[in-house]
């Protein structure tokens, strides 16, 4: 590393004033595997402080888009900007400081299986900051309770937890550094209705108290109804529609119609 390069502590994500309200923007994103194109010329904007619900049929590439935004799946074309920085040409230092500001909840939790829950939550803290062991333990327990897990879960290994507890522990890890933007991949799938409702409530609370922006891939109509500010629909390899739930209810595209006004959706009206 040359001397001129700024250290991680000096760099704070700076944004251009014009797009101050857009925390994440994807433009013309194309992703494919081999000759098969999954996403083509996709545009998406996520506003600061909102909870964006992302829906789409199974296999339409919701998770692929999330992975492309996170840089886990290479994209063939397009630009993705997070916090006003284009992720393709960004320097490693800025990239690292961006990674500090987002949290990810993977579909299967992706907890590190050989670490206890507490250690899992402390991984980002240890990696990016130098906190005292006492503060790290207290913060880990705080996050644990914040996501609704009992304190005695702290010393358990992920293999000893139930599916819902893994989701929660994983969310606690995603929130470890108080991120500005969290990506949730099907956070309520596999939870009982009470647990799912509590999870929704939790996400809404966090979004309100911490100013969190939430990008949530979900199939849960209840979540869409109760907490999402806007909903984006992925179909035909692009974002077909984006807007509030009312906009979706008025939309006449056959897939959107059957999703939001289908038998399952109407039964809960």
């Amino acid at each position: 590393m040359s001397l001129a390069e700024p250290s991680i502590d000096d760099v704070v994500v700076r944004e251009s004033a014009a797009d101050d309200d857009i925390i994440l923007s994807a433009k013309g994103v194309t992703v494919g595997f081999g000759t098969k194109i999954i996403l083509k010329d996709l545009d998406l904007d996520v506003r600061r402080g909102e909870i964006l619900g992302f829906v789409g049929g199974s296999g339409t590439g919701k998770s692929v888009l999330m992975r492309a935004i996170l840089g886990l799946t290479p994209k063939q074309a397009g630009t993705i900007s997070v916090f006003g920085h284009n992720l393709t040409g960004v320097s490693p230092v800025i990239r690292k400081s961006i990674e500090r500001r987002w949290g990810v909840l993977f579909q299967q939790g992706a907890l590190f299986s050989s670490l206890s829950v507490k250690q899992n939550i402390q991984v980002p803290m240890r990696e990016h900051l130098s906190l005292s062991p006492q503060l790290m333990d207290e913060l880990a327990l705080l996050k644990l309770e914040l996501v609704g897990l009992p304190q005695d879960a702290a010393d358990k290994l992920p293999s000893e937890l139930s599916g819902g507890m893994i989701k929660r522990a994983s969310l606690a890890r995603a929130l470890a550094l108080d991120p500005d933007l969290v990506f949730l991949d099907e956070p309520t799938s596999g939870l009982d209705p009470i647990g799912a409702a509590a999870f929704d409530e939790l996400i809404k609370n966090l979004s309100e108290t911490l100013g969190l922006t939430v990008y949530m891939v979900t199939h849960d109509l209840d979540s869409l109804h109760s907490i999402c500010d806007r909903i984006a629909v992925l179909a035909d390899k692009k974002v077909l529609a984006i807007g509030t739930l009312d906009d979706m209810m008025k939309n006449d595209h056959p897939w959107i119609k059957s999703y939001f006004r289908g038998p399952r959706a109407l039964r809960r009206m």
Binding site: R14, F112, L142, K143, Q151, L157, D178, G211
Partner: protein
């Protein structure tokens, strides 16, 4: 909120204008990024005689859960010390945040400590002993089930998963031929070069052929191949079975009513028991070839003379002594690999540990068993 160009370091100012009462105004950023200095800062505040402390957080630029927790903990510490505290300057959002924090009561913090003690050492030793006994039992258990499964499979050859056996054979035997051949070639060459170097001093370099022939056919070929197979296939078996256990695939087999031994263990061990003699034979030939080349180039013994001398030195029995050991070695490697694989628990660390243990134990037992065979062959005079 937290999109700052620069982190403003946390700071405080104390106002003691009203007697008996102090106002503590906190400024700067109280976020997880500045938590380290914030914690130190709070530790340095000295409020000694005053009874009422008013904490004003309205001038904090940005506050997240970590910063709020530090303030909350500080406040708790003051109250515990008999002071009255008051938190002012909260807006709606921060009020919610602090209300959330007030529900949280962490237990008194205890640093984790590990002490070395004689008792702990003895306990660990005892546990290792118990584990060794359990390992032996687990191997006997699998061996027994294997026998039982074989007994049910042999009358109905259709139940023997021949495709599965063939696939495993392909992986462990055909895939291993190049590396086994290359390794044995080099070992054969090294043995005859080293042997030749010393025997030359006595002028009996021709006995290198006897040395290499007997050593390779009786011992080196089979041991080296078994070790290579333990490293190649044994570790693969452990990792496969282990990750199947981690993903609950083994449980799924149980529930569907299939026997793990029949579906997973038997084809692997069977394939290995067929593969190892073949690999050993290849290894023997390739090592002899290496030995022949080196004696020719280094000791000037032409191939014809090498073959004549070799024919005099060894017999079919010498070859068979080596080959007969191979299936037993395969059984040991396969059994240990499967036992270790089925012992894997939920974590990736345990998968790694058991894969290591599988290879280490397999190599160790291969050598032990070779020793037992040596005693046995000596006793029956082969």
């Amino acid at each position: 909120m937290a999109f700052l160009d620069k982190i403003i370091p946390p700071a405080f100012s104390l106002d003691g204008s009203v007697p008996g009462r102090k106002t503590l105004t906190l400024t700067g950023d109280w976020t997880v990024n500045s938590a380290e200095s914030a914690e130190r800062l709070l530790g340095s505040i000295d409020l000694a005689p005053d009874q009422v402390v008013c904490i004003d957080i309205s001038r904090i630029e940005s506050l997240d859960t970590s910063g709020a927790w530090l303030v909350h903990r500080f406040r708790g510490g003051l109250e515990f010390g008999g002071k009255r505290t008051e938190l002012i300057g909260l807006d709606e959002k921060r009020k919610v945040l602090f209300r959330e924090l007030e529900k949280h009561h962490p237990p008194a913090w205890k640093p984790e400590r590990q002490r070395f003690s004689i008792v702990g050492f003895l306990e660990a030793t005892g546990r290792v002993g118990v584990d060794a006994v359990k390992d032996g039992l687990a191997m006997l258990n699998i061996l027994g089930t294997l026998g039982a499964v074989l007994a049910t499979v042999l009358p109905h050859p259709k139940r023997l998963r021949s495709i599965s056996v063939a696939v495993q054979f392909d992986r462990s035997c055909i895939g291993g031929v190049p590396i086994v051949a290359l390794m044995s070639f080099l070992i054969g060459a090294i043995i005859s070069q080293q042997g030749g170097f010393y025997l030359k001093q006595f002028g009996v370099e021709v006995y290198v052929v006897d040395l290499a022939g007997i050593l390779i056919l009786r011992e080196m070929g089979v041991i080296l191949t078994a070790i290579m197979v333990a490293g190649r296939s044994g570790s693969a078996f452990t990792a496969e079975l282990g990750s199947m256990r981690m993903q609950e695939e083994v449980d799924a087999l149980h529930v569907i009513g299939m026997s793990v031994t029949e579906v997973l263990v038997l084809p692997r061990i069977l394939a290995l028991m067929i593969a190892l003699p073949i690999l050993t034979f290849i290894s023997d030939i390739s090592a002899l070839f290496g030995a022949g080349l080196v004696t020719w180039s280094y000791l000037d013994i032409p191939p014809q003379a090498f073959l004549v001398q070799l024919q005099a030195a060894i017999s079919t029995k010498t070859l068979m002594v080596g080959l007969v050991k191979a299936p037993f070695m395969a059984l040991i490697v396969g059994l240990i690999a499967c036992v270790e694989g089925l012992k894997v628990e939920g974590s990736s660390e345990s998968l790694g540990r058991h894969t290591t243990m599988s290879v280490v134990k397999a190599i160790f037992l291969v050598i032990v068993v070779d020793g037992v065979f040596a005693i046995f062959f000596a006793a029956i005079g082969v």
